[in-house]
């Protein structure tokens, strides 16, 4: 047997198993015809469209090379030019976001997979509502999965990155320790017995920019050091320490009550200890956090989470007491709360249901005492039809609010449709909405979904001025290949008042991609965002993490972007990600999106999560584009796991278990996976 054949046969044997499944479940069929068999003889003469004279619609593919030797490596550069117009009382004159983005990935045999991303921007006009100038640049360098003896692996990074966390701190059902963005270095080591060591230090900051992500440091410094270890099954122990010196708080709570919210800069020191126990379907974890902000005395937090799965039912519950004035680095965490929660989930082929109740009281007495109840049920009436409803009730000392939603999903002859009724009310606002959504069956390579909604909102929430408006909202998300070289993708949303007074809302992000030559393409995109003068009422849990300070959007902003892209890959084309040379591969792509209606589908009007990192098998990463789309063009056939670094998700959106999604990629197939972030309850 030749070396090539020897390498091939184990893969063949493995693929055979997959093939049986594919053959029995998928319509795609493949077979072998011995040479010279009747299959070779064309007994029937096919007819050809226009006599076979159509010009072939051929694109040169995702790879600008035929160089196949070596391990996977690729490079991409985007030259971006733009014109941005802003509206509003204090808006600056026309500005430009021009810059250069560059990204590279290369796999190594002994030093893991490397990736580097850089962006540089010219032009420095201040955007309305943003309390600082654009940063000029951003840069990051990642090394993932560097192997060592005895099963050790290391991830290292420097540049504009996110502070590291041990896994036990990251996988929290209720209280999150945020991974703040910083300009610095981090390292993570994983060893036997699930030993994990993390460390990082740098200057905290924030990302900015529309198409050219740049990083702006906010002063001060942060550092963190942590470890976790599983000394004996079923126990795992962990601890992490975070310190910040003279930093700006990154998040401000709505209705700020944080003691140092008005202070320009704070210093904090916080320690976190945790112990987790897991035995089959039961899990419990106890967490202790202790720290001080600006030396204003010690604050202590303790919380316990537990869950148990039996059959189709999972119950989870917990209790907590967290003193006021706690921070994790320069990130606020939920504090000044005590209470408990209970949640039960039930899943079967026909039923999806969950019920939860939170009881939250203020430790200091300065905050409110709140009870929050949520119920959610969906029943699959038939293969094509499902119906469901969601209820939220929130009651505190002085006010109460509730919302209800009912919907009907139906797979119709045109695709999948949904009709939905929403009603929400609190002391100041009554908000009723009827929504129709449709995801349309389209030709190969195209996609389209539409949303139409009518909303009646009566509110005195804005400056005590009574507003009574009926608003109609239309949204379209779609795209596809117009030809093999020309693709259109985008989402458009428009809303205006049919009755009453309300400023209209418009948003659009539409891109046209033209593949000019093998490695060169041109992207033209139009961006517009005009915020309407109303805010839909959303009833949320008091345990949702502190909301990001509302970066006041410009009253209106629109722009045109032109990007010239150069992209080449070598080796990767024939060494699919996670595979070996010659193994079958498929394409894996999708969208990370904010699932506002929590129906598990990407609907028109639901924004994509831009600039989040999607990681394949913990090793290969891509960043989502401004529409939230990500793409792995060549992935080895078989089982893979996608995870998402949630740090760039806007709060209060979150992905359970880091968006961990198991996916099977089939040879020669295209797999589309959309990962929806949910609003924290």
């Amino acid at each position: 047997m030749t070396p090539e054949a020897r390498r091939a046969w184990p893969g063949v044997a493995w693929l055979c198993g997959l093939s049986v499944i594919a053959a029995l479940s998928a319509p795609s069929q493949a077979q072998t015809a011995p040479q010279g068999s009747p299959a070779q003889a064309s007994a029937y003469q096919d007819r050809y469209i226009a006599g076979g004279t159509l010009s072939p619609d051929i694109s040169t593919g995702d790879y600008g090379t035929t160089e196949t030797s070596g391990l996977a490596r690729s490079i991409r550069t985007d030259s971006v030019g733009s014109v941005l117009d802003q509206e509003g009382p204090h808006s600056p004159p026309r500005t430009h976001e021009n810059g250069l983005l560059a990204g590279a990935q290369w796999d190594t045999v002994s030093y893991g997979a490397w990736s580097a991303d850089a962006a540089a921007r010219t032009g420095g006009a201040r955007r309305p509502g943003v309390g600082h100038d654009y940063g000029a640049a951003s840069f990051s360098l990642h090394e993932r999965g560097m192997p060592f003896d005895e099963g050790w692996q290391a991830d290292n990074a420097l540049g504009d990155i996110n502070a590291p966390l041990i896994n036990l701190a990251r996988l929290q059902p209720r209280f999150l320790l945020a991974q703040g963005p910083m300009e610095g270095v981090e390292t993570e080591w994983r060893g036997p017995s699930t030993l994990q060591l993390v460390a990082g230090a740098g200057k905290p900051g924030i990302y900015d920019g529309i198409k050219v992500p740049t990083f702006q440091t906010l002063g001060g410094s942060t550092a963190t050091l942590g470890a976790q270890w599983a000394p004996a099954s079923p126990w795992a122990l962990g601890g992490e320490f975070a310190a910040a010196r003279d930093v700006s708080l990154y998040y401000q709570p709505l209705g700020a009550t944080f003691a140092t919210a008005a202070t320009a800069h704070i210093s904090s020191t916080t320690g976190f200890l945790t112990a987790a126990w897991q035995d089959g379907a039961s899990r419990a974890q106890i967490n202790v956090i202790d720290g001080t902000v600006d030396g204003n005395g010690n604050s202590l937090g303790v919380w316990v989470d537990a869950s148990h799965t039996q059959g189709a039912m999972t119950q989870s519950f917990g209790a907590f007491r967290i003193d006021p004035n706690l921070a994790w680095g320069n990130q606020l965490i939920s504090s000044d709360v005590q209470g408990g929660y209970y949640r039960v989930d039930y899943r079967s082929r026909r039923w999806l249901a969950d019920f939860g109740v939170d009881q939250v009281r203020s430790v200091s007495g300065n905050g409110s005492n709140t009870t929050f109840v949520n119920g959610d049920a969906r029943y699959q009436l038939s293969r094509d039809t499902g119906l469901g409803g969601v209820v939220y009730v929130r009651r505190n000392d002085s006010t109460s609010a509730w919302s209800a939603e009912a919907y009907l999903d139906n797979a119709n002859s045109s695709g999948i449709g949904r009709g939905q009724l929403d009603y929400a009310t609190d002391r100041e606002t009554r908000d009723a909405t009827f929504t129709l959504q449709q995801t349309w069956d389209m030709r190969t390579g195209t996609r389209l979904s539409t949303t139409a909604a009518v909303e009646r909102i009566r509110s005195t929430a804005i400056m005590n001025v009574e507003q009574d408006s009926t608003i109609v909202r239309l949204a379209v998300y779609g795209g596809g290949d117009l030809t093999a070289r020309l693709a259109l993708d985008g989402s458009v949303q428009w809303a205006t008042a049919l009755q009453g007074r309300a400023a209209p809302s418009r948003s659009a992000d539409v891109s046209l991609t033209w593949q000019v030559a093998r490695a060169w393409s041109v992207l033209a995109s139009y961006y517009e965002n005009r915020v309407g003068s109303w805010t839909p009422l959303v009833v949320t849990s008091p345990l949702a993490p502190p909301t990001a300070a509302a970066v006041i959007a410009a009253a209106g902003e629109r722009g045109v972007f032109l990007t010239v892209r150069y992209q080449v890959a070598r080796g990767a084309h024939f060494v699919p990600l996670g595979g070996v040379p010659g193994s079958g591969s498929g394409r894996l792509s999708g969208v990370v999106y904010l699932d506002a209606n929590e129906n598990g589908r990407y609907d028109a009007g639901e924004p994509g999560a831009a600039n989040v990192t999607v990681i394949l098998d913990g090793r290969f990463s891509v960043r989502s584009d401004p529409n939230g789309r990500f793409d792995f063009p060549a992935v080895a056939a078989g089982h893979h796991v996608l995870t998402v670094q949630t740090d760039n998700l806007p709060l209060p959106w979150t992905l359970t278990n880091s968006g961990r999604t198991a996916v099977d990629v089939a040879t020669r197939d295209r797999t589309e996976i959309n990962i929806g972030a949910l609003r924290m309850k």
């Binding site: 069929q29 299959a39 096919d46 050809y48």
Partner: protein, 265 residues
């Protein structure tokens, strides 16, 4: 046992094809989508596109042609190049007989189905075969076997108001992977293929509750098929049943349905 033999047959068939992919650079292609289920009215033209991507290093040529097909008892596909009786391939026009693609290149390949004005309600079925032009060589030890890699796309075009009509016969018990499972004999007396689905639940002799899932496989017009109802619980996808087993629920295909209340023993 029958099912196991079916699976073995399919796996052997496909193993040899994968050998072509794994060992020869002459044929490595990706086709999307793998199946079309279309509708058309008499006197109209149904136009569609599939994408064919050359996954090999250098340029490659592919031969594209139509074929009739039959589904075996194991759902293995047998393609026939010769025109079969009642074949609708004369309605079909494809873009070109040969495609030349650069390494990594993709063609949006067009085909159309011209439904005649006098076409009765029914279903037009055919395959589009993509074959590597250069024969590949699969080698195992001293054996060298020249083969032609081939991918088949299955196309269904429902003409007019053709619909499947499913008749369910008496229950039976068959052995699947060493475990006894309930099955139904199903006859499609309609004019279009059917794919069964539905929500079935039941209880075995020990009083344990199960969900039962019919496979999503095509049942062509005129065919009689044995449809295995795979049991599942929230704890296991491969439970062992104790017979007799009672199964109730709704069996669905297209926009039609029937209620099922059967005892299997």
């Amino acid at each position: 046992m029958i099912v196991r033999r079916m699976a073995l047959g399919v796996s052997l068939l496909l193993a040899s094809w994968h050998a072509a992919v794994a060992s020869a650079a002459g044929f490595a292609a990706l086709v999307s989508p793998p199946r079309f289920e279309l509708t058309g009215r008499s006197g109209t033209v149904v136009r569609q596109v599939f994408e064919l991507t050359n996954r090999s290093a250098g340029p490659a040529k592919f031969r594209v042609h139509t074929a009739d097909f039959t589904l075996g008892a194991d759902y293995g596909v047998a393609f026939q190049d010769e025109l079969q009786p009642a074949s609708c391939r004369p309605w079909v026009a494809i873009e070109r007989p040969e495609v030349a693609l650069p390494g990594g290149g993709t063609i949006r390949y067009r085909f159309e189905v011209q439904v005649p004005k006098d076409a009765p309600a029914g279903e037009c079925r055919f395959g589009i075969l993509i074959e590597g032009e250069e024969p590949a060589v699969a080698q195992s030890g001293a054996l060298r076997l020249p083969i032609v890699g081939r991918i088949g796309i299955i196309v269904y075009v429902i003409v007019g108001d053709a619909k499947p009509q499913i008749e369910v016969f008496g229950p039976q018990v068959v052995t699947l992977n060493g475990r006894k499972v309930p099955a139904l004999r199903v006859h499609n007396a309609g004019k279009a293929h059917a794919r069964l689905s539905g929500f079935l639940s039941g209880t075995d002799a020990k009083g344990i509750k199960y969900d039962f899932n019919p496979p999503d496989l095509p049942i062509l017009p005129g065919e009689v098929r044995k449809v295995i109802l795979r049991p599942a619980t929230s704890e296991s996808d491969h439970p062992t049943l104790t017979f007799p087993v009672m199964v109730q629920g709704t069996l669905e295909w297209g926009n039609q349905r029937t209620e099922l209340d059967e005892r299997f023993e």
